[in-house]
């Protein structure tokens, strides 16, 4: 057992990394589950790219400053979300196409800014955060975003579930559809910014979507999926950090690959809707 306990007992940076990952696991995975249920999984990826210019501007203004990069990232993400929603509602273009258009513009702008101004700084710092270097401020931010997300989701759980199941019904019986949609997009942006502090912009989407996708093969209810997804994310975090410690792998990719392994195993062996359930159905599943 010492291989499991010692890394965390001996090194404060491992404890911090673990706490940060658990905070992200709790906050980002429910958002991922709802993205999945609303068939918006790729929206997370697009938003992650959209955040880049904001973080880049924050980085150029204040260096590797947590506050500046967070505010910049959230601002850029929200601008893209609002523009996308507005274009979808008021013009002929659908939401997916308008999101694709805005995130590509945003991404190009981000790369342009970083290359123009940051000739002697490493773009890698902006693209790849490191979970091994979480300081007090970053940890506080991660935990705060996680808490806000959980409270917000609890408050709008009902309309959000309805929106997943039958968006037209929600729109016909209440005026909550629009506000809930934007609040939800706001939570996506917040959690991506949190994940990007720890895992980098490109890896943050992974901890959001992969556990949710894996959970789909284990649970049929939304509550069940939320629980399974959070557990998968937490176990992947521990497994990834241990792999990074014992095998010398970079921590961010190790965590995401651990979640990816969970997904692939669930895809094949999960009890609900997986390959195993389809081709080798067990008696109790047929009932």
């Amino acid at each position: 057992m010492s291989w499991l306990i010692d890394p965390f007992a001996d090194f404060a940076f491992m404890q911090r990394a673990l706490l940060g990952c658990l905070a992200i696991s709790l906050g980002a995975t429910p958002v991922g589950v709802f993205l999945l249920l609303r068939r918006m999984s790729l929206t997370g990826d697009a938003m992650a790219h959209a955040i880049l210019p904001g973080a880049a501007v924050g980085y150029l203004v204040a260096g590797l400053n947590l506050g500046a990069m967070t505010i910049g990232g959230v601002a850029a993400g929200l601008v893209v979300a609002v523009l996308t929603g507005a274009v979808a509602r008021f013009t002929a273009l659908r939401e997916d196409a308008s999101l694709a258009a805005f995130y590509l513009i945003s991404l190009a702008l981000g790369v342009l800014l970083v290359s123009l101004k940051g000739s002697n700084v490493d773009l890698m710092h902006v693209l790849f955060g490191t979970v091994l270097a979480l300081d007090d401020a970053a940890l506080t931010l991660l935990c705060a975003i996680s808490t806000v997300t959980l409270v917000a989701l609890a408050l709008v759980y009902r309309p959000l579930v309805l929106e997943c199941a039958d968006p037209r019904f929600l729109r016909s019986v209440s005026g909550w559809s629009g506000p809930v949609h934007f609040l939800f997009l706001g939570l996506v942006v917040l959690n991506l910014v949190a994940g990007f502090q720890a895992l980098g912009t490109l890896m943050a989407v992974g901890i959001m979507i992969l556990p949710a996708a894996a959970a789909r093969f284990w649970a049929t209810s939304i509550g069940g999926m939320l629980a399974v997804a959070a557990c998968v994310a937490a176990i992947s975090s521990v497994a990834g950090l241990l792999a990074s410690y014992h095998a010398g792998l970079p921590s961010g990719p190790a965590i995401i690959l651990a979640a990816g392994t969970f997904y692939l195993l669930s895809l094949v062996f999960g009890p609900s809707g997986s390959l195993a359930a389809r081709f080798w159905p067990r008696a109790h599943l047929e009932a």
Binding site: D6, P7, D10, F11, A12, F13, M14, R16, A17, L64, D122, M124, H125, F128, T130, L132, A133, L134, D135, L241, S244, Y245, H246, A247, G248, L249, P250, S251, G252, P253, A254
Partner: protein, 337 residues
């Protein structure tokens, strides 16, 4: 490719070299910025010093350009460090067809083996650990080796060095030998100026002497238990030998973009177990990670040390004397409590 460029360059050089001889000053080429500064101090007004590898340049990976071959062809004296530092120098001299006298500044220096300091120490520490540090240790060595290979790649073609540490100027005593060699070389090329060179050299030697005592005093003022540093520079062997600081190569840190938990843990264990007081690790590029390591170990994170090249004239290490003072300031700043 390179050869062709050099041939073209030397052809051009022969055509354009003539005016260079017309100047009344002695045309001296120094291979890199630190040497250029020393030559300028000895030569004074009688020499025109050109450095091939300028400030902040890396002489290990220098690729001579046609203009360099031209400069070498027109030179009266060429000053090189020797000890295999400029692997490209022999070919450049040959290709340019220069008739200049060549001074090897490090002549008479007792060479030390490359990186022996860091490796020996690292081994002793590694075996005392209870974690699986043999592995991390092995990686650190591989990395060092790889770095040496990469750094000296260009030298290997026409040169067979590798075992000796060429960074002899990191000991002020050695630079006194450099000054003697340069003075004799300049006097041989320009007998009329011999007296000036001797006077300049004497004045500069006095300054070096003061610097040497200054460094010794600064180090003597440090507590005994705060004289070990982790640094990724492999250029401080002579400094360590002359002044009694211990430089240890960092374990693990080989990746710049994404460090693994193992890398960071290995470095932290090393700092804790060896009682290392300061860390000068420039190839961990992420300042957040360095801060984290500093908080966890209590070791101070040092600034920039200049080893192979001067900074620009505006920088903190514009001359050899200011470079050494800058380094000692950085070191004592991080090591004193």
């Amino acid at each position: 490719m390179l050869t062709r460029r050099l041939l073209l360059a030397s052809a051009a050089a022969i055509a354009f070299a003539a005016p260079a001889f017309a100047q009344d000053k002695l045309n001296v080429i120094a291979s890199f910025s630190i040497l250029g500064d020393i030559v300028q101090n000895v030569g004074g007004d009688r020499v025109e010093v050109t450095t091939l590898v300028g400030p902040d340049g890396d002489a290990h990976v220098f690729q001579p350009a046609p203009a360099d071959a031209q400069a070498v062809a027109g030179a009266d004296v060429i000053v090189a460090n020797g000890l295999g530092f400029e692997g490209w120098m022999d070919r450049l001299v040959e290709a340019s067809g220069t008739k200049a006298a060549i001074i090897t500044a490090s002549e008479g220096v007792t060479p030390i083996a490359f990186g022996e300091e860091g490796h020996d120490h690292g081994h002793a520490e590694g075996e005392a650990h209870d974690h699986d540090h043999e592995h991390a240790e092995g990686e650190a060595h591989d990395h060092d080796h790889a770095k040496e290979e990469a750094g000296h790649d260009h030298g290997h073609e026409g040169h067979d060095h590798g075992a000796e540490d060429p960074h002899a100027w990191q000991s002020v005593i050695n630079v006194a030998l450099y000054v003697g060699n340069i003075e004799r070389g300049l006097a041989a090329a320009d007998p009329d100026g011999a007296e000036t060179y001797a006077a300049n050299a004497a004045a500069y030697l006095a300054e070096l002497d003061a610097l040497d005592s200054e460094i010794k005093a600064a180090i003597a003022a440090l507590p005994e238990n705060r004289r070990t540093i982790v640094t990724s520079h492999d250029a401080f062997g002579y400094f360590a030998a002359a002044y009694g600081l211990t430089f240890v190569a960092p374990q693990g840190v080989s990746t710049e973009a994404e460090a693994s938990a193992q890398d960071v843990a290995a470095l932290i264990s090393q700092i804790r177990d060896a009682g290392i007081a300061a860390v000068f690790v420039e190839n961990i590029a992420d300042p957040r990670l360095l801060d984290q390591i500093a908080t966890e170990t209590g070791a101070k994170i040092g600034g920039t040390l200049y080893s192979d090249a001067l900074s620009g004239p505006e920088g903190p290490a514009g001359t050899y004397l200011t470079m050494m003072r800058h380094n000692i300031g950085q070191l004592t700043g991080a090591l004193s409590q």
